[in-house]
Symmetry: C2
Subunit: 165 residues, 2 copies
């Protein structure tokens, strides 16, 4: 896959990027998944029970202490093949224009994806998890404990996605 | 505040950072909060009902279309005053060493914080939200819609934080 997979379609709008980045990210590991091409990825992480493996670089492996006590984690990762210029998108080419910040599309100014995963097992610097839908080899940016007290909002609504009856 | 606020304490461990970053972030706006110094910030976002204002740079403002239909948002922001070298930390200097990836501490290899906020109002490129605990002027990295179907896990447990009875 290349960024050519993302064309600019009718109803989409791009902006010019700033000349310089404001901050730098270190990739701290890689995500191993069963999906080698974008078309193979599940449309939604809840559609898949596939076990994925998070491999943390040895440099950072000490940071995994106590992670095994968490039932769920927040993962941040870098969607490195996405264009960063789109502010209005037409998801699924279905003719309806949405703002980038109202979408979970990988195409966004900073393509940092966030997924909540269930932790199955920790083996040294490798975590087995369920709940991802990204490409094999995706760079890892962060791992955080998921706190239900602040992160879980069961009655949250995305109005454009689930119109009121 | 400076990074000197974060010393390395007994039980803490640092690593050497990679020579080069792997990817660049653009700051897409700023977060306005009532807290000017770290000591004033609430310890936990749920402790505060303060209304904070997210100001999105005009360049990206078109991306806010449809955001007003969301009751809750995921915000990613840059904790720009945090050291990035800590892999083992002693939170609150209470003598217990934890791994960085088992903590929500701003000190981490990539200091990208994630908060779930309640959206009160959208006025042009300004969003009024509740649920933040960061410093005034914090750089914004991303705004995403919060989907309860994938993001909400009410029964998630962080074992080290809430020991079993």
């Amino acid at each position: 896959m290349s960024t050519k997979d993302f064309g600019v379609w009718d109803g989409e709008k791009t902006v010019e990027l700033p000349k310089q980045p404001d901050a730098g990210l270190y990739f701290i590991g890689r995500i191993h998944t069963p999906w080698k091409e974008r078309k193979d990825c599940p449309k939604n992480a809840r559609e898949s029970e596939a076990i994925c493996v998070i491999e943390v670089d040895p440099r950072w492996a000490d940071g995994l202490k106590d992670v095994e006590t968490c039932t769920h984690l927040v993962l941040l990762y870098w969607m490195d093949r996405s264009p960063r210029t789109l502010v209005l998108q037409v998801p699924g080419r279905r003719g309806v224009q949405r703002g980038t910040f109202a979408l979970r599309s990988p195409a966004r100014p900073n393509p940092v994806a966030m997924s909540v995963v269930k932790l199955l097992r920790v083996d040294g610097n490798r975590l087995s998890v369920v709940g991802l839908d990204c490409l094999d080899g995706t760079p890892l940016v962060d791992i955080k404990p998921y706190f239900a007290s602040t992160d879980s909002v069961p009655d949250a609504v995305v109005g454009w996605h689930r119109p009121k009856d």
